[in-house]
């Protein structure tokens, strides 16, 4: 059995993971040493793009909000349209939304929109925002057939009903399903290799759709805390949504999301193709992310952020989640108190003082040190419109 086949078997289900000798929910008995070395293999001979992360506007984050953008858990299409137009003009300094989008997208591009459907339906990339992004990309001259919306897990895409809610001709792709159905899914030569907990398969491969098919990526993360990485934002949505075999980086209560998230985002061509990040903060999950369905921990905030710098964006997000947790009396995501750790996911989902892992929000600053953007709040040009 070759290595790719081996990974493929591991993708089929938890039973197969057990066969491999790595149960993702198995607890680590000892504190692991520092992160092991991670070997990165990008697409050979790929010429980096100046639009690549941190992109055209390092350190700049535009935030717009409207309390009427989400009312009784429904997102308003017209308000989202206005917020997106406003924020794109402010990000680029252009006077029209079309000119703003033309700074990133060419009519000949194949545009991938990376959504975050995990957590659907309670908190996922809003179809209303995705529709507006599609309309904006089309306004530049990209035909609908050259736009695709993707994530790793098509089942989560289904739960969000994106298929029915997005316009005809837009392709919607669940990378993992294509892979396990025998189609192309991942690139054998583009990968991150590291052994975190003694796992048998030490590589995470880049999705073919990212490596070969799309020419630009618009990243649409949500505003959520994350039980392992502290928050999940632009960086995590890109990294763990592009490479496979990433659950191996968690073994409760430990996780190596730092440094792997940032490292993955440096691998070409992901770094070059991810030209724009649009954070959906219509809903803000301050505990239980990324999968919670508990409305008690989800505030309807009506926020939209745009940036080319994912590190700056996630730094702003981290501050917002921390503020929200303080307001609700929940401990910081930086807290590493062993008494807060529980193996009981049911308890975790309903008690904001509990967590499954010692979280790693430091993955954002680590990504900054890799040159992916600005992590120092004082140096971030955070404009609230």
């Amino acid at each position: 059995m070759d290595r790719r086949t081996f990974v493929k078997v591991g993708c089929i289900g938890s039973a197969s993971l057990l066969v491999q000798g790595l149960d993702p929910m198995m607890r680590a008995d000892a504190i692991p040493a520092v992160a092991p070395p991670v070997e990165l293999h990008g697409l050979p001979n790929y010429k980096p793009s100046p639009l690549g992360m941190p992109g055209l506007f390092p350190g700049r984050v535009i935030e717009v909000r409207d309390p009427n953008a989400i009312v009784r858990n429904r997102v308003s299409q017209p308000i989202v349209r206005r917020l997106l137009d406003q924020s794109m003009k402010a990000l680029t300094g252009e006077s029209s939304p079309r000119d703003a989008w033309a700074k990133f997208i060419d009519p000949k591009d194949i545009v991938g929109i990376k959504i975050n459907p995990s957590g659907a339906p309670a908190c996922c990339s809003s179809p209303e925002i995705i529709r507006e992004i599609i309309a904006a990309v089309r306004s530049v001259g990209v035909p609908a057939r050259n736009i695709l919306v993707y994530d790793r897990y098509s089942y989560e895409i289904d739960v969000g009903s994106y298929q029915a809610l997005l316009p005809p001709e837009i392709r919607i792709v669940g990378i993992q399903d294509a892979f396990t159905s025998g189609g192309d899914g991942y690139e054998a030569d583009v990968y991150c290799d590291a052994n975190f907990f003694g796992e048998w398969e030490t590589r995470s491969y880049m999705a073919t759709i990212v490596a070969r098919e799309v020419t630009k990526i618009i990243n649409v993360p949500t505003m959520k805390d994350h039980s392992a990485s502290g928050v999940t934002g632009a960086l995590k949505n890109l990294a763990y949504g592009t490479f496979n075999n990433v659950a191996r980086t968690h073994r409760p209560p430990y996780t190596f999301t730092n440094p792997l998230i940032g490292l993955m985002c440096t691998v070409e061509p992901l770094r070059s193709k991810a030209v724009l990040h649009i954070m959906d903060g219509m809903r803000q999950v301050w505990h239980g992310g990324p999968l919670t369905q508990v409305q008690e921990f989800i505030d309807q905030t009506g926020i939209l952020m745009v940036a080319t710098d994912p590190v700056a964006m996630d730094t702003v997000e981290l501050e917002a989640i921390e503020k929200k947790r303080r307001e609700h009396g929940a401990p910081s995501v930086w807290q590493h108190d062993p008494s807060s750790i529980t193996p009981d996911t049911g308890l975790f989902f309903h008690d904001a003082s509990k967590n499954l892992f010692f979280r790693q929000p430091g993955h954002i600053a680590a990504a900054g040190k890799l040159g992916l953007g600005v992590a120092d709040l004082k140096q971030i040009n955070h404009r609230l419109l």
Binding site: L166, P168, S181
Partner: protein
Amino acid sequence: MITTETAQPKSSSDWPTLLGDNARTGGLGERQLHPPEKSIWQFRTGGAVRSAPVLGDDILYVASVNGTLHAIDVFTGIEKWKFDAAGQIHSTPSLFANLVLFGCDDGKVYAIDRHSGKKLWETASQAEVWSSAVVRNGVVYFGSADAKVYAVDAASGHARWSQELGGKIYSTIYAAEHQLYLGCGDGKVYSLDSASGKILWSTPTENGIDSSPALAGDLVLIGSEDFFFYAMNARTGEVRWRYETGMGVASSPAVSGDLAVIGSKDGFLYAFEIQAGRLRWKTAVGEVVTAPPVIGEGVVCIQAGGTFALDAGSGKIVWRAGLGGGAMQSVPVLASDAIYLASLSGEVYALK
């Protein structure tokens, strides 16, 4: 002309709606249901199952996402034949005469001989077909993600007509005697003339529609991603009543008598008195509900992670069953002496 519909198809050879009849029984009719006690057999399809199995003549037909339709002998759990399509399959199969029909992500609807597993005909659309093909009076109707409704001859697969709507179609058509009803990604519920495809009426909701309609008397029942469950006048499309749930409604209603049951992504199952538009009960089943319920004799069954059986009168959970790691968002097959289940991870179980 409007025809009053009952829970069962007019003719035993028709398959007019998702899973054959309004109760979503897969054409088997409402059966008595006992809690399962043991597994008779298991079968691995090798790919995820995100559609519902159907049973006919002791053969269970299961489509897996990896593009294979399996025909499984229900007595032995042994595969009788399989058919490999050219794309993934998300469409729930339907049965008509000697045919098993299903849509495919390659844009085609395939008609397979139920006994031999050989392809008899195929017909093409321009995008994936996730809805089920339905049959009425010798005509197959289906909607495609290319935003069109197609009518083809059931015997040959030859095209009769197509009609373009305003959005992608994932909703399975309800084919009444003279009219078709379906939801659309553009948020509208449509009624089309079955003979010509002409749009007779359309009624907007406030978001796209994934749900498949039932027709109960003179009412079309359907859910929308706008969080509402609707009852519309089948002749005019006028909204007779609607009920707001806590999240989008992708599930499809099951109907028995004056009772309609539907799930919502808010994790609840809702039961309504159809004519009065009154909520009879709502019950939390734990997880997001996207699958349609199926109604047995006095019992409603729903898969939302596990399988739940609820008393149809009160909504009280009578029993629940989980299957290891095999989460389910499909529809159980309630046969006279067994229950057949398919899981997201691709296992099929026969339970007694």
